[in-house]
Structure formats: C-alpha cells, structure tokens
C-alpha cells in the first residue's frame, strides 16, 4: 500500500471515531494542518521520480479534497466550531404550541363504541329525549304501577311526556318505522332523578343496540358482544353473561368483562369480583315485538344497553362523575 492510501485509510477510520467538535479539530490538525500528514506527503514530492511527480501530486490533491469534504460534512453534523463557542441553542425550552381544542371524554368513548359497532354492520339511530309513556314503558313491556314508572324514577314534563329514562325507547321507534333485518345502535342521553354524587348523576349516556332478523339467537348476541368488547379492549378480552331480568328482553342477562386491571383475580377496580359489569342484554321480548307489529313467530332479535359514563371513567381513570359536567378547561384539555 502506498503512503498516500495508507494515510487515507488512517484518516477515514479515525474520523469514524470522532465524537465532538474538539475531536474533529484535532483530526483536522493531524491530517489537514500545515504540519499535518497530507502536507507531509507534499514534502515527499522531491524524492519522487520525475515521470511520477504529476500523478503523485494529483493523488495528494485528490486526497486533500476528499478529506476536506469529509471535514465539512462532519462539522455540519456536530455544529460548527464557531457556534460551539457562541450562544448555545437551548433545546430544553418548550416549543410554541398551537392552541388545539379537545373532544369531551364522553364523545371520545361514544365515538369509539360507534366505530366498533359500525364495523359490525350496525348503523346509528337517534330518538327524541322527550318521550311518551308508550315508547318509554308500555311498548317495552313495563306495565302500569311498575315502580320504574313512578315520579321518583323519572322526570315528567307534562301529560304522559317525560325525559327518557333509557335509550331502549329507540328500539321501539326503529321497529315502528323499519322492517327487519335491523342492526342499529342508539347512543344518547337519558335522565333519572338521582341525587348527584361521585358516581351518580341525573343525566347520563347509554348506548343501545338492537338486531332483529329471522334466525337471530343468543349465540349471535354473545358473538356480537364479544366482538364489540374485543374492539374496545383488545382481542384477549373475556366476557361472561349472567342471568338477569329486564321487562323488555327474555331471556335477559347482564354482560360482564373480565377486569382489565387484575385479569379476573379481583382488585379494587372490580370490587374483588374479577368482573366488571358493562350493561344489560337479552332477546327481544315477544311482547315488545307485538307492540310494534312484528310477528314473534317469524322474527327473533337481541338488544343490549351499555353505560357510557362508567366506561369512560374507567378508561381515563376519572374518579368523579361530576368532573364530566363541571367543564373545567384543565379537565377538558386533558382529552386533546
């Protein structure tokens, strides 16, 4: 190997290990300085035979140029030597942030739920918040004198009108105006005169689901619910149905999800039950079908209702339901 190539290899390998501006300066002096190795090569020119002088000189110049270019590139990556001695950029200063807004946590969870249900082929419906007793009770198989119809459980407006106490009313309105097959969800607000505390409010949100067709079974219901919770909590989610009673479904069940914190072992979040109650579900009661003019011998269907507040509070770790309606911007801005 010629001296020329030897120095080149040496320079390039040393440059690799240079880590800061000072090191780079030392490298420059060693190879490109006035007393540097490249300049030293020029001194050898005297000893080179005349017919090779030209080629040697060109070789040294090419090397000089190559190393100078490398130096500039390295400088740029470290920041120039002059900057290092001048004022330093304080990159710990905060950025100038554009003001962005935020969606309410209830909206965020509601939208997530809608997105999953849409992917399962459910469309979104809405019903009025001020309802009549037919849609809020009678058609839902809740008889007169049932405690759920009392003034203590509902906000009555006038006559038989009241603020709906459940989104199941939308089931009735959907079936009154559509023929099966139906796959619909109805997210919305409901109202019950509960005293407001850390976990109760007189206004809250539910997501109602309804599917009606010729051969729907509880198996389809369980599949739908499992897919839904997979979409919300991840594919390893576990669900269970346990028997319950609702006037508008038969059979009825409560749907629980295995606690996402303890995996079912029992912890504070699930009150040591290992499972977290998500809402009610069941097969549409034949009396409900009769109320809307469907033949229960022809159609079956399932319905479910899930609370949005509880899901949002658990998802975001919100300890008090009142934070949701206080609207302090320090709260709202956390959901940007």
């Amino acid at each position: 190997m010629s001296d020329l190539e030897n120095i080149r290899q040496q320079a390039l390998s040393k440059l690799e290990s240079v880590g800061d501006v000072a090191g780079l300066d030392a490298w420059r002096l060693e190879f490109l300085g006035k007393k540097g190795l490249v300049q030293g090569l020029m001194k050898q020119l005297r000893e080179i035979p005349a017919d090779q002088k030209r080629a040697f000189g060109e070789g040294v110049n090419t090397l000089k140029k190559e190393l100078s270019e490398k130096l500039e590139t390295a400088k740029a990556s470290f920041g120039s030597a002059r900057k290092a001695t001048g004022p330093q950029a304080d990159i710990t200063l905060p950025g100038t942030r554009p003001q962005v807004g935020s969606l309410h946590p209830i909206t965020r969870v509601r939208d997530e739920m809608i997105a999953v249900m849409r992917s399962l082929g459910f469309s979104v419906a809405e019903g009025p918040e001020i309802e009549d007793e037919f849609h809020n009770f009678i058609a839902l198989n809740i008889p007169p004198h049932h405690p759920a119809r009392s003034e203590g459980e509902n906000f009555y407006v006038s006559g038989d009108k009241l603020l709906r106490s459940q989104t199941s009313t939308v089931q009735i309105r959907m079936m009154e105006t559509n023929e099966p097959p139906i796959r619909v969800i109805a997210p919305g607000r409901v109202y019950r005169p509960d005293t407001v505390d850390a976990s109760h409010h007189y206004m809250f949100h539910q997501l109602e689901g309804l599917a009606v067709d010729k051969n729907l079974t509880m198996r389809d219901m369980k599949t739908t619910l499992l897919e839904f919770f997979k979409g919300l909590f991840g594919s390893d989610v576990k669900i269970r149905l346990r028997a319950n009673f609702f006037p508008f479904t038969e059979p009825s069940a409560e749907v629980d999800v295995a606690c996402t914190f303890c995996g079912g072992d029992g912890c504070r979040t699930c009150q040591n039950k290992g499972w977290i109650e998500m809402g009610g579900c069941g097969m549409v009661d034949p009396n409900v079908f009769k109320a809307v003019g469907y033949d229960p011998e022809v159609y079956t269907g399932f319905a479910f209702g899930l609370g949005i507040e509880r899901l949002a509070m658990r998802r975001y770790g919100i300890p008090d339901i009142r934070l949701l309606t206080e609207n302090d911007v320090r709260f709202l801005n956390q959901f940007a």
Partner: protein, 677 residues
C-alpha cells in the same frame, strides 16, 4: 336480601361447594351476590340482589330451589308435619272477612298452652345473621318462617282479642292504632285493618297492634296467615310511611298456594320452641285460590332462541327441578303442556320457560362463534355535519363541553329560534333546574363562570353540540332542534372567524352575516350579527348583553355564537370539489384607503368585486386603523388584491390598469382616498 351459607345448606344438604361456589351459582343464575361476610361461627352471611320478577327468592327455600336446580342436587323442604289436638279451632275464635278486595284469603290457627320466652340459640343466630333482633320464641318463629317460606304471619294474643273475634274490614275514618313499634297511626277508610269486636288490632299486611301483641304472659295465640292485596298494601305502607318485611312481600305478591304449607310450618315450629297444643282445623275464609297456570311449550323454541341444542330430557329435568309439572310429554316434537308452580307467577309464557332452561343450563354454555354477515353502513348527514363541526372547532382550539339541559325558567326561555315558553319539569329536583333550555347561551356562560371561579384565566374557547326542545304543538313530542353553541374570549372577528371556518368546512357557499339590529336571545344589538344561509337565519354571533354578563357575574365579556344545524344539514356539501388553479405567477398589490367611519368593508368589497377586474384572484381585508393623522370621523382600511391569469403571466401595466380602476371607483362611489401611495 341476606341469607347465610349454612341456612341455604339446610335445604340443599348435598351441596359440597364452599361459600364462593355457592355465591357464584347464585350470581350466574340471576341472584347477584354483592359480597359475603363472616357470620355466626364458621357461617358466612351472603348479601344478594333479587330481581323484581323473582319474588319467590325473597324466601330461603326459593333461593335454595335455584341452587338445587343449577347443581342438580335434591331440594329438602322444611318439616311441616303437624299433630293437632282434639279441640276445634272454631270453638276458640271466629273470623269475618268483610273486605274481600283488600284481603282475598284469611286463615287462622290457634295454639294454646304455650310458654313465651327466649328463643333457642339456633333461632337467635339465624335471625341475627340476617340483621333481625330476637324478640321472643313465638315472634321469632314467625319471622324465621317469613324468611324461610316467603309468607308473612301475624300472631295475636288471643286473650286480648275482644270477643275472640277477627274482622277484616276497612278502617273507619279517624280510627287510630298504636302499632308494635309503639307509634300511633291514624287510619282512613281506604285502609284494610284486622279488627276485633271493638277496635283495629293490626294494619293489614303491614304491622300488628301493640295491645294484642304476644307478651311473656301470653298462653293462647291466634296465628294469622293471609293474602293481602299488593296494591292496597303498597298504598297503605306509602301513606303511613311504614314499611315492614311483611308489607315488602305483600306488595310484591305472595304465593296463594303457599298459605297452608307456611301456616303448618310456622305452627310446627311454635309448638317446637314454645310448647302447647294446636287446635284442630283451620279457619279459612275468602276466595278460593287462583287456578294453577298451564300453557304449552315447544322444545324447538329453546334452540330457536338460544342458538344451542339442549336435549328434551335435560329441558324436562330443569323444568321439574324448578317445580314445573310437564304433563304427558313423551313427544317433544309436539307442543307439551306445562303447569308452572304457583310461587312462580313470573312464568306466564313459553318464552319464560326458555329463559328458565337456559338460565339453569348455564349462559356460559352458549358459544360466541357465529359467522356474522357483512353489512355496510353509512352515517346520517346530521352525524357527518356534527363530526365536521367538532373536528374543525377542535382544530381551532375549542374544547367540547357537556352541560345538562336543566335551567331556571327565566334562563331557559332565552331562545334564538322560537318564542314560546320553555318546557318545564313537573317533578324537578331543584327550582333553578326546573325548565329545559332552548339555547346553549346560559350553559356556556355558566361554564365560563366556573372557569373564572376556578382561576383558569382568559383564552377560553368552548363549544357544545346538543339538541334543544321546542314545544311547538301541545301533546306532541316536542321538536328536537340540533344546535351548536360556542363561546370564545376575544373580539367579534374571532367568533366570526370560527363560523367562517365552519362555513368553509361544510361547503356553505352563501353564508353571510347581517348586523343584528335588535337584541336576540340575550345577545346585544348593534354589535353582533345574524348568520344567514341564503334567506334563512341559521344563527347569531356577538356579545351577551351587559345585563346577562352581570347576571352571570362574569368579569370579561366573551363572544357567543349559536347555529341551528337543521338548515345546515340540508345545505352542507361535505365532499370538497377540486378547482383547477393557475400555474402562472400571481401579482399582489396592497391598498389602504381612508373612508368615513360610516363606510364598511362590506361596501368596499362589494364595489371592487362589481368591477369584474380581469384576472382578479382574491380580495382580502387585512387591517383597520384609526388615528389623529387621518382626521376625526375617518378610518383606514387596508386590503390586498391578487391578480393571476390561467393562460399567461400578467404584465405590470395590466395590473396597474385594474388597480387604477378600483381606486377611481372607490373614490367616486365611496369617497375613498388612497393612503400612503
């Protein structure tokens, strides 16, 4: 509802699981266990919630029956065997039933020669473990059997009953009774009472009287086992604000057929713990018991509803374990008549039996493995519009709020889009939350105020999308109008800018603003604008009135805007259409003109646009200025014009010619004078 592990086990003695397993069985079959706690000795007290349809589970036997059914173990009924004496009950007392509506059946047994005293330990422990206090052996037995068989009783000291007589009748107005809780109650003719020959001795189904209660001197008792009307009992309990374990059960309805068994069980235990002898026979007055219920059941329905096949033999076994009688029933391909037990009045239809079968068989037996058919769905346009509105406002720095629709009636009356009264809540919890809002103004100003009180400084930008209820026609469901409300700390331009942003995002081509000449919805006249979409008013933007700001105790004066979304949904064009743009360079020119105060930017813009200047690409306002050098009553408006041809590069002469036309027109039409040329 409380029970204990050991208590339940007395009826399902073969159950070998621990308390957790028992609780799990209850929870999964519909009676959810809340928790269990240490009880007497090694026993555990279990707290359950019983659903409203399962009245039978208000008794230990009912709960035990479910446990036996889900485990497939035999149910051991309590011992009800009796050996009465020779003396006839009719010789000891008489019963007259006058109020058959309030009481459909009344029975009486008589036990004599008892000695009233403390209860045995087992009885005290059972009662205390479910939160009851031991009184004496006779009263304790009635309470125990009430919880065991779900049938309330009452025992009278027979010596204290005037004329040894029971009359079931309506109370006489003004009649009073001192109950065993030592309080006096005034009765009215709507209430059913149990009376003796001279006075009421019990409030039917609710509570007995103090005068005739069992005491340590009592030796002869009359044991009442009756069926009182649920609604009548509820009415009385509510009116007197007097609830008891008895009234709780009568309100929900007790098993009419259970009276005999329960009475026997209760008498047997009285004899066991207090001695004495039972008179022969039972005084039994009232209507015959209702018929047992029977209907046909198709096995195929089980699979049709549950999606899994459960063999007929298994279905039959489940139904029988719950007390149903399958009649005939060799052939499950035909409808099978099933008689349901009288304690299960909730079983009325075939579907109820399907539920019982899957409930006992286990919902966990249903797999979640259906192949779902693929269906595509589209959002409604209202949903799409709301999504665009939210997305753009969030991008513009607005935080979405969530407020309730309840306001004081005066605030609720403020409305931009209707002039009728707000809807009021008949049973409001608070007076200042007794009406339903028709605008978001007060709600968002309240949020502004909360943030002021919480020390959050300025720069608040908030919005909410909701519906307001407009009571257009009495008796109908009111109109639910979707609206957007927004509040911003800033000037009019900031609020207008947010609306312009929405107008662009929603493709609202002819959105315009018109000065608001009169106060609207508590927004100040003269400084705000009506928002128009073509001819239709779709909203308002401006400052709340000084009165409103004072009412809300706000220190600053934010801008508010509200849009009704219904017209917007019709007009919105949510899919942007590409418009070709020129590849040639643009020529930009700025102009500043001095005009009288009364002139508006709108006039200048309209005039310049009317000139149809060739290749004018844009005309944009950028500054307004007032100062001494301009003179009083004058202002300067600065704006920029941009020219660009789609075919070639414009020459400066062409652009200059257009500029001069604009300047001349503004001078002539608006008296505008060019500034700083």
């Amino acid at each position: 509802m409380k029970t204990t592990y050991e208590w339940i086990k007395t009826y399902v003695p073969d159950f070998e699981g621990d308390v957790d397993e028992m609780c799990d069985r209850f929870t999964m079959s519909g009676s959810e266990v809340e928790y269990h706690l240490p009880g007497s000795g090694d026993d555990r007290v279990i707290e359950l919630s019983i659903t409203s349809n399962r009245v039978d589970c208000l008794g230990m036997v009912g709960l035990a029956r479910d446990l036996a059914a889900v485990t497939g173990l035999p149910l051991r009924m309590p011992d009800m065997h009796l050996r009465p004496g020779d003396a006839a009950v009719e010789d000891a007392c008489s019963v007259e039933l006058q109020d058959e509506k309030g009481c459909s059946r009344y029975t009486a047994l008589v036990v004599e020669g008892i000695s009233v005293g403390p209860s045995p330990d087992w009885l005290v422990e059972r009662l205390e473990s479910i939160g009851l206090r031991s009184v004496n052996n006779v009263v304790d037995v009635t309470n125990f059997v009430l919880f065991e068989m779900n049938q309330p009783f009452h025992v009278f000291d027979l010596e204290q009953l005037d004329g040894s007589k029971i009359i079931v009748r309506r109370a006489i107005a003004g009649e009073k009774i001192r109950a065993i809780n030592d309080r006096e109650y005034e009765l009215d003719p709507e209430m059913t009472v149990i009376a003796d020959a001279s006075r009421p001795v019990a409030i039917a189904g609710v509570m007995g009287g103090a005068d005739t209660e069992v005491s340590e001197r009592t030796t002869r008792v009359l044991l009442e086992t009756a069926r009182f009307d649920p609604l009548a009992t509820r009415h009385v309990a509510k009116k007197l604000a007097l609830n008891s374990d008895s009234s709780f059960r009568f309100e929900r309805g007790v098993d009419g057929h259970g009276i005999d068994a329960a009475a026997n069980r209760c008498a047997r235990l009285i004899l066991e713990v207090a001695g004495g002898s039972l008179r022969k026979g039972m005084i039994d007055v009232g209507a015959p018991e209702p018929c047992t219920r029977q209907f046909s059941f198709r096995h195929a329905q089980v699979e049709r509803v549950t999606g899994i096949e459960i063999p007929w033999e298994r279905c039959r076994e489940i139904l029988e374990s719950l007390g149903c009688r399958v009649i005939g029933g060799g052939d499950p391909t035909a409808p099978v008549p099933v008689e349901v037990p009288t304690w299960r009045r909730d079983l009325e239809r075939e579907i109820d039996l399907v539920e019982e079968i899957i409930r006992i068989h286990g919902l966990d037996q249903i797999p979640a493995d259906t192949k779902m058919t693929v269906v595509s769905v589209a959002d409604s346009k209202l949903d799409l519009v709301r999504a665009v509105v939210k997305r753009n406002l969030v991008a513009a720095g607005f935080a979405e709020t969530l407020t309730t629709p309840f306001l004081a009636p005066a605030s609720a009356a403020e409305c931009f889009f209707a002039d009728h009264a707000p809807i009021e809540i008949r049973n409001a919890m608070r007076k200042d939350e007794s009406a339903l809002r028709m605008s978001l103004l007060t709600s968002l100003l309240t949020v502004r105020r909360v943030n002021q009180d919480n020390g959050n400084g300025d720069g608040i930008r908030i919005f909410e999308v909701t519906v307001v209820y407009l009571d257009n026609q009495k008796g109908e469901i009111p109109l639910h109008l979707p609206i957007l409300g927004g509040l911003i700390d800033g000037d009019f331009a900031a609020a207008r800018g947010a609306l312009e942003l929405l107008g662009r995002a929603l493709g609202l081509k002819d959105l315009c603003f018109e000065i608001m000449v009169a106060e609207a919805g508590a927004l100040e006249a003269g400084v705000g604008a009506r928002v128009l979409l073509g001819e239709a008013t779709i909203g308002f933007v401006g400052q709340p009135t000084a009165r409103k700001i004072a009412e809300m105790s706000l220190k600053n004066r934010p801008q508010y805007f509200e849009l009704r979304l219904d017209h917007i949904v019709e007009a919105a064009s949510l899919t942007p259409k590409f418009e070709a743009f020129s590849r040639y360079p643009a020529a930009h020119r700025d102009l500043a003109v001095i005009v009288d105060e009364s002139r508006t930017w709108g006039e200048i813009e309209k005039l310049v646009r009317s000139l149809d200047l060739p290749d004018l690409e844009s005309l944009e306002f950028f500054d307004e200025f007032r100062g001494k050098q301009l003179g009083a009553g004058k202002k300067s408006l600065a704006f920029s014009l941009s020219y660009r041809s789609s075919k070639r590069t414009l020459t400066s002469e062409e652009v200059e010619a257009s500029q001069q036309r604009a300047i001349a027109a503004m001078a002539k039409e608006l008296g505008a004078q060019i500034r700083d040329q």
